[in-house]
Symmetry: C2
Subunit: 354 residues, 2 copies
Amino acid sequence: MAEKIDLKRIARELNLAVSTVSRALRDSYEISEETKQKVFALARQLNYEPNPYASSLRRQRSKTIGVVLPELPNNFFTHVVNGIEWVARQKGYHVLIYITHEQMEQEISLIRHLQSGRVDGVLASVCAGTQDIAHFRSLHQHGIPLVFFDRVCEDSGFPTVTTNDYEASYHATVHLIQQGCRHLYHLTLPLHLSITRKRLQGFLDALQQYQLPVNESTVLIAKDMDLFYDQLDQLLCSTQPPDGIFAAVEKLVLLVYHICQKRHIRIPSQLKVLAFSNLETAPLLAPPLTTITQPAFEIGKKAAELLFRKIEKKRDILEQMHYVIPSALVIRDSTRSLGQALSNQSAAEWIHSA
Amino acid sequence: MAEKIDLKRIARELNLAVSTVSRALRDSYEISEETKQKVFALARQLNYEPNPYASSLRRQRSKTIGVVLPELPNNFFTHVVNGIEWVARQKGYHVLIYITHEQMEQEISLIRHLQSGRVDGVLASVCAGTQDIAHFRSLHQHGIPLVFFDRVCEDSGFPTVTTNDYEASYHATVHLIQQGCRHLYHLTLPLHLSITRKRLQGFLDALQQYQLPVNESTVLIAKDMDLFYDQLDQLLCSTQPPDGIFAAVEKLVLLVYHICQKRHIRIPSQLKVLAFSNLETAPLLAPPLTTITQPAFEIGKKAAELLFRKIEKKRDILEQMHYVIPSALVIRDSTRSLGQALSNQSAAEWIHSA
DNA sequence: TTGTAAGCGTTATCAT
DNA sequence: ATGATAACGCTTACAA
């Protein structure tokens, strides 16, 4: 076991004061070039790594940010985290990951803990159930900046980074209608979330625009996954099945594919399907899935950049509180109408992004 | 901005010593029930959260572990992290995520930094290029436990958690051969990694067992992805194309699917394909992909459990240094031979449309 | 240019 | 059962 190397040790060996060594290592202008060189050399030789907790305690900043998200095995969130990590690394910051698993109590206790000063700022995407945001306000009162991404709390006074949920939904729905769908259904998560509300609204407005009927069964909200699967199964096998499905989140469209596979329902001839999704395998599915692809990396990057602006100068007034980075509607076979040729662009498209 | 709540503040309000409050909050037997209640009540009322860095500094432990991995948007790694997080949460530990992006210098500087005491232990899956493990040894010398998972350094003296790479590969290859493949190719990453070597060995041994020929082009190693795509494209379009492909990692099998889609090569009739993969969409691909599915969550969970044993009692001798959790070969249409019934309609539709 | 010393908020030791 | 105090390793006035 290697003995501990601290400032005291380096100071002792060089016959210097601890403070001198500290300053030398931070390359302070007060210290002579000669001393600096000696200190650098020994520090390197001894493999010195400053104790981050001593430093954090003294300087009252942790060089750490917290990322709070509902789930990790999710193509959208992992790319967001990648974007965040990209920025954090440039800044020399560390990233703590917290997964809420959609449990509000987790989210609350976690955020309450983060008041402690463990992190200098927080990036969060809230639980599907979150309505009360007292815990986030409390965090703010403790002077810890917070930026929401994707699943944001609107009108909460915190900066947000999202995609153009409403417009993307609207246009995707219009696409479905133009492909001939007349009996459209919308699959989504509980409507507490602003993204689910906006995506739904875009969907409904398109239906209204085209004077297509809406009834209370048009919108299916997934609370429990097993239940939802059965519900969906019944819908797709009913005597009046939908001819178009819009899934507001990736997870739900996979259920549709599974059921269609099991029930031998053909996509797109019997049923057209599209979804908000960042599945890298979307072009390889049977059939290739039309997606609203969110700029996940950019969302993470932008959210992190905003957070660092807040961290670096708390008084900084952002010229804009709500950033919207548009999604792309990528049309693939799952929404093609019969007359249209099947495409093989997907491969080329994919290579390009890889 | 809420004023800072610390032990001193609580002590002052209750006319107690700081040390008493500290002990009360840790529910020490030395403190009277009455005092404890008062302290608890006030702490709760003031929303007290202890400063973790002060505590870490004093106690010389951080209640934090570090997870080092080559990439995050990857179905295997995200599930591993989920498993790790699951254990860490039980233990009241925090999780720092570090992504190396396959850059060895990143890995080295990162691990060197972690000597600082920022974490109480490290879980790592190394870069494809990592050969020298001096940085890991150095970490160990600083008394910080390390457990490798998946991409492990063998014979390094550190505990490892992996799947049964060799056996799984061997059996998967036998499966391909039994399905009629005679011209098999193996796609993999650089062979510095123990997983790539073991998977390759399982593959080669099966070929030898069945007396199938092996030549220098049988094994394709992906260094640069763009280059590899072209190389693969040429192979699949050559006059002597393979009739079976084994991809040692998920990323590479997707290239195969893309090329087959673009080149109208039919799977499985012209080419059978399987891969190590944790793709949740494997059953939904065109055609459904036969996978060697790794127990990702369990690997993360086991690795974390081992790490905590080391953290909690450094002298603890593990009765076993290398844990192997078996993968499952999930046979789907991508390796079915012609005589066999297709498992579902999506494959039928795919063939029809191809 | 360098040294001395206080202090960050907690915990552990020793006293009362 | 509670209090006083030192110490964790570093940064930063202030002094020299």
